[in-house]
């Protein structure tokens, strides 16, 4: 059962519309911020991102057509493949900006870590959703934890802590809906607070400590680490209520805020479209998350619900962290804004994720 025509009316077109709208808003913002005055045309990043959109839509459709249960059942295979790819990245991947993340496929490059989330969500949905396992016992938690640990450690070794960390919400979200005892959460938070001095002293690299310290007082180091944080606030704040207008931003376009097309695309949007634009985009993200959680609520089985929750948890975490960072309220980490930031692999993987969510909702009545 690849595609049943009767399923088409059950596609959540509103959710799909929200996803596409956010993608296009991201694309136009990249268009504005990379505009090259000398050549009078948008920068190469815009075109590369534009080409990624149809690829992403194709991936989305692919993920809609194949029944998610089929995928979930095959997930151990996918999981094995993922681990192999991540090992390959460490072995033969090419290096950029001090870490090894990409595989050269001849026709283009691929960032396997971007697809790790999909695979992990499928595996964990299967682990907790299929059969009667819940996340009530420590043993159950440990099983999922081991599944998480595989891709996490391989990505961490690249090193790409940012991407590795985004795997954790998938696990956290799924064990939460799978019945994680809340006292354990409270207990874990307490332990975390008590252990944080130890982690600070022994567990963190100097540059990571630097980032935290700079976050707490960006003016301590206004030239380097604090610079982005300060400029992000200036960029966002100078947008005001209604913004400077499309293509009229100065902070991103003139490179006062670096990575305006990438990590800080939302700040550029806030600068050009103002608080009104911020409300609009935040509303769209909220809508997309809301509709996605509907898919979880309506899912025919636990596997579907858990799959959606895993994906949404990751999406929510990254969106919220990135946007908090744009407001200067979180340390600057290389976390992109899903759907809007520049990055082909990320866009394709994210759209594929929404394909799975659409898939779950679409098949809520099928047996």
């Amino acid at each position: 059962m690849i595609l049943n025509r009767r399923l088409l009316p059950h596609v959540d077109w509103l959710l799909l519309g929200g996803v596409v709208a956010l993608t296009l808003i991201g694309l136009t913002t990249i268009y504005a911020v990379t505009w090259n005055i000398a050549d009078n045309q948008p920068g190469g990043e815009f075109w590369r991102q534009a080409y990624a959109v149809p690829v992403g839509l194709a991936a989305l459709m692919a993920c809609v057509f194949v029944d998610y249960r089929t995928l979930a059942q095959r997930s151990p295979l996918l999981y094995g493949g993922l681990l192999l790819m991540l090992v390959a990245v460490l072995a033969v991947g090419f290096e950029a900006k001090g870490s090894r993340r990409w595989l050269d496929l001849g026709v283009g490059s691929l960032q396997p870590s971007e697809f790790a989330r999909l695979v992990l969500a499928l595996v964990l949905a299967m682990v907790y959703g299929d059969g009667r396992r819940s996340a009530r016992s420590m043993r159950d938690l440990m099983i999922g934890g081991l599944v998480l640990a595989g891709p996490f450690s391989l990505i961490f070794l690249q090193p790409d802590l940012g991407t590795a960390v985004t795997l954790v919400p998938i696990y956290a979200g799924i064990v939460y809906v799978a019945g994680l005892r809340m006292r354990w959460v409270v207990g874990a938070v307490l332990v975390g607070v008590l252990l944080s001095p130890v982690v600070w002293t022994f567990g963190m690299q100097d540059y990571q400590k630097e980032r935290v310290l700079t976050f707490l007082d960006p003016y301590k180091d206004p030239k380097d680490a604090g610079y982005q944080q300060i400029q992000a606030r200036v960029t966002v704040g100078s947008g005001g209520l209604t913004g400077k207008g499309f293509g009229q931003g100065t902070q991103g376009a003139y490179r006062f805020l670096p990575e305006g097309h990438n990590d800080f695309v939302f700040a550029v949007l806030a600068e050009e479209q103002g608080f009104a634009g911020v409300i609009g985009v935040l509303g769209l993200y909220l809508f997309v998350i809301w509709r996605s959680l509907d898919a979880a609520r309506l899912a025919r089985d636990r596997v579907g619900a858990f799959l959606v929750v895993g994906l949404v948890s990751w999406f929510l975490f990254q969106v919220v962290y990135n946007i908090t960072m744009q407001a200067g309220l979180a340390p600057v980490k290389g976390l992109t804004l899903p759907l809007m930031s520049y990055g082909g692999s990320s866009l394709v993987a994210t759209m594929a994720g929404f394909g799975l969510i659409l898939n779950v909702r679409m098949r809520r009545f099928t047996n």
């Binding site: 005055i37 009667r132 979200g173 939460y176 809906v177 019945g179 606030r233 200036v234 960029t235 966002v236 704040g237 100078s238 947008g239 005001g240 209520l241 100065t250 902070q251 376009a253 003139y254 490179r255 006062f256 806030a270 600068e271 103002g274 608080f275 911020v278 409300i279 935040l282 993200y285 909220l286 998350i289 809301w290 959680l293 979880a296 609520r297 636990r302 619900a305 929750v309 949404v312 929510l316 919220v320 946007i323 908090t324 407001a327 200067g328 309220l329």
Partner: protein
């Protein structure tokens, strides 16, 4: 088939999903509030910050106003100069840029480095001028390497230029960068560091007029400081053009004569009808162009350490004993006070006893019976001692004040010193002692506690020339803001009294005889046939006669101990149109000043009548160069401009 407990499971899942949703809403509300604070509450602060980020204001320097002589000849102007600057922000390796720049411009790498180091604290987008007044070859070398050295730019700046170098240096003064301490003064409020202002002379006094207003270019730049577009341009407003009272030809004649004789000193030529200064000088002098290019520390040290103090303006800052020229004041005071008439006779026997002490005449053989005319002609001391005996010091002070020898003349030049003729009150205040009548006798021949600036003497002569109006000397006739010349009202006279024609005629007659009669002290030296030059010589003692004799005896005598020579004058005698003073330092004799005055007066009359200007021939034999000031006159600084 639902397994047992599936319903319960389902309920559990729904509860947890609802909890998740609640959490999502909370987080999004938090984000909205955060952006509200940033974008709405703190908007203004961030907007200004972003504004400062990407707009730059680049100054367009206004050229200083041109100075003209009274006939419209350009005396001081501004020309375009080019400087080479480095913008540190646009290079990743400043040291390499400096090395390459030094190489292509044939300059010292260390010097360029030192300049860049001095400006290290400034914003990196601000160009640092490393080569001022670049040569054509240097500019070409830099422009040819535009691609290799994008961080090196050629900027055009106005530069003050004095075409005739040291001519009238003390009149014009010089310009220089505003000093740190000056920036705190209200008159320089708002000037940027490095702004060029007048630091001496007219440049200083009329700085506001001459400076103009700098313009600005407001440009958009990117984060590397590269200019993207010009948003706004405000052209600079050049300083006002100023027409001086100075006559360039007289000024040249005056300085040429001093140079030819090799004298240091000061001189001023004034129109006694208006107070306009036609020429003035103080020598030795300096080249103001040295200051325009940013004076080197070596040149600055040399000027400051020179024992002849070329930076000082002797005309208004040098205080000298007036010597016999003070007899003119005595003559007018005595006539006005009714102590004598023009025909009162006093007999000179070579000396006389006053208040129990014997005072000598310079002519120890005695001049015989003298009237005022002859006493002025031959500068008879005994005659004027007698006048001093008949008047109190306060009376003399009163008339000296009316003739301009007390206080400042009020000329529009900076740092003028006050001339002094004593009074009883003055001595009590300054020395804590009462005045002894015997001192009045010394004062009556211009010795004792009398010290005057050469310009005060010139104004005294101008007052005698115009019959009693003490004018304020001034240097500016008109200004032009770009819409035509606007005359500048002359300053008000300091005082006016009327010298009766009979008295005036007697004094002028005596002064005329001094220049034109065979026995006159300045005869043949200052006389111009047909011009009726009237004048008076004088010697200003540097030390007392006894001191000089002692120095000669002990071998400590140097020329610096020699008296200064005065010559004060007016012409023509009956209807004077020019008056003034020439003081030559350490020349011993006032008559050595007279030829300089004569040359300038001849230039004045020749120019007025359209005849060829005279050429000065020094009467001082080169071997007996009295002071040897040739070395002190600022040497030719060829190559600077």
């Amino acid at each position: 088939m639902l397994s047992p407990g599936a319903y319960e499971d389902r309920q559990n899942l729904q509860t947890r999903l609802a909890g998740l949703r609640a959490g999502v809403v909370v987080v999004f509300v938090f984000l909205v509030v955060a952006f509200w604070v940033l974008q709405v509450l703190q908007y203004a602060e961030h907007r200004d910050r972003a504004e400062r980020n990407h707009t730059r204001s680049i100054p367009l320097l206004a050229p200083r106003g041109v100075l003209f002589d009274r006939n419209g000849e350009v005396l001081v102007s501004s020309r375009r100069s080019f400087r080479i600057a480095i913008i540190r922000e646009q290079t990743t390796d400043v040291q390499a840029s400096i090395r390459q720049l030094a190489e292509v411009t044939h300059t010292s790498e260390d010097e360029l480095k030192a300049i860049v180091d001095r400006h290290r604290g400034e914003a990196p987008f601000r160009p640092i001028a490393v080569i001022e007044h670049a040569t054509d070859a240097q500019i070409a070398a830099v422009i040819a390497r535009k691609l290799e050295l994008p961080e090196v730019v050629v900027e055009q700046v106005p530069m003050r230029t004095y075409p005739e170098s040291a001519l009238a240096a003390h009149l014009f003064g010089y310009v220089g960068e505003v000093r740190q301490a000056q920036l705190k003064l209200p008159r320089f409020a708002g000037l940027p560091p490095g702004a060029v202002i007048g630091q001496a002379g007219l440049e200083q006094v009329y700085n506001e007029l001459l400076m103009g207003t700098d313009g600005n270019r407001f440009v958009t730049v990117d984060s590397r400081g590269r200019e993207i577009e010009e948003l706004q341009r405000q052209d600079p407003l050049a300083g006002q053009r100023v027409r001086l009272t100075i006559d360039a030809d007289m000024q040249r004649a005056l300085e040429a004569a001093f140079q030819a004789d090799g004298f240091a000193g000061a001189a001023a030529f004034v129109d006694p009808r208006t107070g306009e200064v036609l020429a003035l000088t103080s020598l030795p002098s300096y080249d103001p162009n040295d200051f325009s290019v940013g004076i080197s520390s070596a040149t600055w040290a040399a000027l400051n350490e020179d024992p002849l103090r070329p930076l000082g303006n002797r005309l208004i800052q040098g205080l000298y004993s007036p010597g016999s020229t003070f007899k003119i004041v005595m003559a007018i005071a005595a006539l006005e006070e009714g102590v004598i008439t023009p025909d009162t006779e006093v007999s000179c026997k070579g000396s006389g006893v006053f208040y129990g002490r014997r005072f000598k005449c310079w002519n120890t053989a005695g001049h015989g019976p003298m009237t005022l005319r002859h006493a002025l002609e031959q500068s008879c001391n005994v005659f004027f001692y007698t006048l001093g005996e008949r008047m109190s010091i306060d009376t003399i002070n009163k008339w000296a004040t009316r003739l301009g020898l007390v206080g400042k003349t009020g000329i529009d030049l900076p740092q003028e010193k006050a001339s002094l003729v004593p009074s009883e009150e003055w001595k009590l205040r300054e020395r804590g002692e009462r005045w002894y009548p015997g001192e009045t006798i010394s004062v009556s021949i211009g010795q004792g506690a009398v010290s005057v600036t050469p310009l005060a003497m010139a104004m005294m002569m101008a007052t005698v020339a115009n019959g009693g109006t003490l004018l304020t000397p001034h240097l500016v006739m008109a200004t032009d803001q770009g819409d035509g010349w606007e005359p500048v009202a002359p300053p008000a006279p300091r005082s006016t009294f009327l010298i009766p024609p009979g008295h005036l005629a007697a004094v002028r007659e005596g002064l005329w005889m001094a220049v034109n009669e065979p026995r006159g002290t300045a005869t043949t030296r200052g006389r111009i046939p047909g011009r009726d030059v009237a004048g008076k010589t004088g010697t200003a003692q540097v030390i007392s006669n006894e001191g000089l004799a002692a120095a000669k005896a002990s071998g400590k005598y140097t020329r610096a101990l020699n008296d200064h020579g005065w010559f004060v004058f007016l012409a023509p005698r009956d209807n004077p149109e020019i008056a003034g003073v020439v003081l030559t330092e350490h020349t011993e004799h006032g008559y050595l000043s007279a030829p300089i005055a004569k040359h300038v007066l001849e230039t004045y009359f020749a120019k007025k009548e359209g005849r060829p200007l005279p050429v000065y021939k020094s009467s001082i034999p080169p071997t007996s160069n009295v002071v040897g000031t040739a070395a002190a006159v600022v040497p030719d600084r060829g190559g600077v401009r």
